[in-house]
Subunit: 428 residues, 2 copies
C-alpha cells in the first residue's frame, strides 16, 4: 500500500515524507491554492477550485455562448446533462444512460422519492434514520404530506457514539408495508458508511424501493450502483466532485425501473419530443424523463471540467488515499487531542468510514470559531458538538492534517476558544 | 418619442439613421458581438453575452470560490437568491422580499402551481390557454395528476390569427370552482400580451389564485406585480435578462400570501433555520420558504452581472425601444414579405405585443434553415409555420432588423429554401 509509511509518531517530518511518497500528491497542484498555510478541512462541504475550471468556463462562455449563441444547443449543450451524468456514473458504478447532472440535490431527491412512493401505492411506511441529513428528512416529510399523510416515516436510531447503524437495524425496521428506504450512503456527521448492497438487498426482499443520497460519498467512496441493483440515487457535485458552490446535482435511476417510474415535475426537457411542442406530456424514454427545465450550462461546464480531471484517477486510488488520510487523522487525534476533552464521533473501522472524521468537544462551537479566526484552519461545525474534518483525497495533504491537528491542540491548550460566543451563528 | 424617425420606406439608410438616434444604441457595445454581420433574432430565446459577465464570474470563481472557499457563504453567497431576486423584482414591479432567483422555470412553476392548488382545496378547475408554452401545460398536468386527478384543466382557445385572447374569454372560463388561472404574460409564439391586471382581478373576484409565467416579458414588457396584486409569478433569466444558457430562473410570491402558502419541495434552504439541522421541517418566514437546495452561485453570478447593467436602464426606455423595433419589423414585413406568402402571426396593436414577432409561412421550417445556413440570420422556428423573430431592446439594432428582413426576402425570392428538408429537427 502506497501509504504504509504514514506514522503519527514520526511528527511533522513523517507527514512531509508521506506527502513525498503520495502518488496522488501531484493532483494538489492542479487546484488553486492561494494560501499554502491554510488548512482546509472543508473539501467535503465545498471542494477546492480546479485550475482548469476557469479556462473551461471561459471557453464555454466566450466561444459557445458569446459566439455560437442559441446554436450551442445543437453542438454540445443539449447532451450535457447525460454527458456529465455518465462521467459521474463512472465514479459510482453506473453504466451510461442512468445518471443525469441537473437541478439541486433537494429537487432530485424530491423527484426520486415521489417517483418511488408513486411506484409502491399499496405500501405505507418510509424508513430512514435519525442521523440523515435533515434536508433529506424534510423532502421525505414533504412527499408524505403530498400523498395525504398516509405514510409513516420510521427513523432508525444509532446505538453507539460513532453513530453507526447495522444492516440488521435497518432490516428490522423494514416490513412488507415499506414503500421506500431512503438513506445517506455516508452520513453527514459521523461519516459512517452504510452497507448499501446489503440494505438494498433486504429492502428488495420485501418489495421496497431504495433511494440513496451519495452527497458525502460520490468521488470519495467506491460503490456499485448497478452491481448492487440500487433503484435511485442522488448526490451533490460541490463536495468531492469539486464542481463549485451550489453546482448542479445528479440523479441515478436504474435502467431496470426507468420505464416504470416517472418524475413528479413534468418539464419540457423530460418530454419525449421537447421541440414538437405537443400540448400533452409524454415522458421521454429512459433517464431523460427525470429532466425538467433547461440545463444550466455554465454551472454544468464547471462540473465537467472537474470530472475530466477526477475520473481518470480512479476510485480505487482515491479511496486508498482517503483511508490513509482519515487513519492518520485518527492516530493524531489519539496522540494529540483525546486527552483534551475530545471524543471521536466517527467509526474507527476504516471500512465503515467515509472521507471525513468528526471529533466532538463540549466547546466545539467555540473551538471552531477560534480555528477559523486565528489559526487558518477551516473545519465545519455540526450541532451539537462536532468539529467535522473533511479530507479530500485529491487536495488534502498529510502535512495539512498534521498542521490542522497541531493547531487544534494549540488552540485548546492555550484556551483561546473561551473568548468566542457559545451561541450558534446563522451560517457556519 | 425617440424613435419617431424610424420609417420603413427610408430603406437601409433609414435604419442607420434610426440607430444613430437611438438613446439605447450604446448598450449594444456592452455585449460581446463577434460577428457584426450576424442578424440575431433569438435574444428572446438566449440573450447575448454581456461583456462584463466574464470578469464578474472570474472574480466569483477565483476570488470567492478559489480563495474564500466555504467562507463565501458568509460573505455574499447566502443572500444571493434574494439579492438577485430583488433586482429582478425592480424590473417586474415587485418590492423587495418577494422574488427569489433559483432553480429552473419548470421547477419554480411546479412550486407555484402546487402551492396554489394546495391553498384552494375546495376548487377543482385550472384555467390556462392552448397557446401557452407546452412545458407550462405539462407542469399543470403533473400537478393535477398529483392531486389525484380531481382537477379539470380548461384550455381557452384563441379566436384570431394573431393568437390573442380577450380578458372576457378568460373570464368566461373562470367560475367559483376555479382554483387557479395560469398563463404566460407574453405568449411564446405570437408574442401576445395578456391583460394581467384585468385577468388577475377577475380571477380574484371568484376566489381563484393566479400564476403568471413572465419568461417572455421580464426585461421586455413593464408590469406591476404588486400593484396588480398578482399572487405568483415565475420566469426565466436567459432570455431578455441575458443571464446565460440555462440560467437560474425566478419565482415571485406576493407578500400578502407568503404566510399562507408553502412550496411542495421542502429543502434545507427553505427551512426556518437551515443550520440548526432540526429534524422536522418548519418553513422559513417570507419568500425564503420557496427555496429548496443550495443556491447555484456561479450561475447566479452571471445573472447578477447582467442585471446590474440592465436594471438602471429602466423598463420605460426598454419598452419604448422594443415597440419601435417591432413596429419597424412589421412595417418591413408589410412592404417586403407579405406579398411572398407570409402572414403575420403577432398582434398589430403594439399595446398587445411583446418583444418578438412571428411571421408565418407554409415553408417556414425550410426558410428557417436556409437563413441560418446561408444568410447569417438566426430566427427561431416554432411549429407549425412560425419564424419567430425576437428583438432584444438592448442588443438588436434597427440595421439588424432591416438586414434580417432583406435577407429573408432574398432567400424566399431566390427559392434557396426549397433544398432544405421539410422534416422537423430534434432541436431548433
Amino acid at each position: 500500500m502506497a501509504y504504509s509509511a504514514v506514522r503519527s509518531e514520526a511528527g511533522r517530518a513523517g507527514a512531509v515524507l508521506a506527502d513525498s511518497n503520495d502518488p496522488l500528491a501531484p493532483y494538489r497542484e492542479l487546484f488553486v491554492i492561494t494560501d499554502p498555510e491554510l488548512v482546509y478541512f472543508d473539501g467535503n462541504s465545498l471542494g477546492r477550485l480546479p485550475k482548469k475550471t476557469m479556462n473551461h468556463l471561459q471557453n464555454v462562455i466566450q466561444q459557445e455562448w458569446g459566439t455560437q449563441l442559441i446554436r450551442g444547443w445543437g453542438t454540445g449543450w443539449y447532451d450535457a446533462p447525460h454527458r456529465v451524468g455518465d462521467k459521474i456514473g463512472s465514479l459510482i458504478g453506473a453504466a451510461a444512460g442512468q445518471v443525469l447532472a441537473c437541478d439541486s440535490t433537494s429537487v432530485n431527491l424530491y423527484k426520486a422519492v415521489m417517483a418511488a412512493l408513486h411506484a409502491r401505492p399499496g405500501k405505507h411506511t418510509v424508513v430512514s434514520d435519525a442521523m440523515n441529513f435533515p434536508s433529506d428528512l424534510y423532502i421525505l416529510q414533504a412527499a408524505i404530506t403530498h400523498y395525504g399523510n398516509t405514510h409513516t416515516l420510521r427513523l432508525v436510531q444509532s446505538h453507539d457514539a460513532e453513530l453507526t447503524v447495522t444492516p440488521d437495524a435497518i432490516a428490522a425496521a423494514i416490513t412488507t408495508d415499506t414503500a421506500l428506504v431512503c438513506l445517506s450512503h455516508v452520513t453527514f456527521k459521523s461519516g459512517f458508511i452504510y452497507d448499501m448492497q446489503e440494505i438494498t438487498r433486504r429492502a428488495h426482499e420485501v418489495g421496497a424501493l431504495v433511494v440513496w443520497d451519495l452527497s458525502h460519498s460520490a468521488g470519495a467512496v467506491p460503490m456499485q450502483l448497478d452491481g448492487w441493483n440500487v433503484d435511485f440515487a442522488v448526490g451533490c457535485c460541490y463536495k468531492f466532485l469539486n464542481g463549485g458552490p451550489g453546482a448542479p446535482a445528479f440523479i441515478y435511476v436504474n435502467k431496470n425501473i426507468q420505464a416504470h417510474v416517472t418524475s413528479p415535475i413534468w418539464g419540457w426537457f423530460g418530454q419525449k419530443s421537447p421541440f414538437a411542442f405537443d400540448i400533452d406530456y409524454t415522458p421521454a424514454d429512459g433517464i431523460d424523463r427525470f429532466l425538467a427545465g433547461t440545463p444550466p450550462m455554465l454551472a454544468l461546464s464547471a462540473v465537467e471540467a472537474s470530472l475530466d480531471m477526477l475520473v481518470p484517477v480512479g476510485m480505487h486510488a482515491i479511496r486508498e488515499k482517503s483511508i490513509a488520510l482519515t487513519e492518520y487523522l485518527i492516530a493524531l487525534y489519539d496522540s494529540h487531542l483525546a486527552e483534551l476533552g475530545f471524543s471521536l464521533g466517527s467509526p474507527r473501522d476504516a471500512a465503515k468510514r467515509g472521507s471525513h472524521v468528526s471529533i466532538r468537544h463540549p466547546l466545539g462551537y467555540q473551538i471552531n470559531q477560534a480555528l477559523i479566526a486565528e489559526q487558518k484552519v477551516i473545519p465545519d461545525f455540526r450541532e451539537p458538538d462536532n468539529l467535522r474534518l473533511g479530507l479530500s483525497p485529491l487536495t488534502t495533504s498529510f502535512v495539512e492534517v498534521w498542521d490542522g491537528v497541531d493547531r487544534i491542540r494549540a488552540t485548546v491548550v492555550a484556551g483561546t476558544h473561551h473568548k468566542y460566543p457559545a451561541a450558534r451563528k446563522a451560517v457556519t
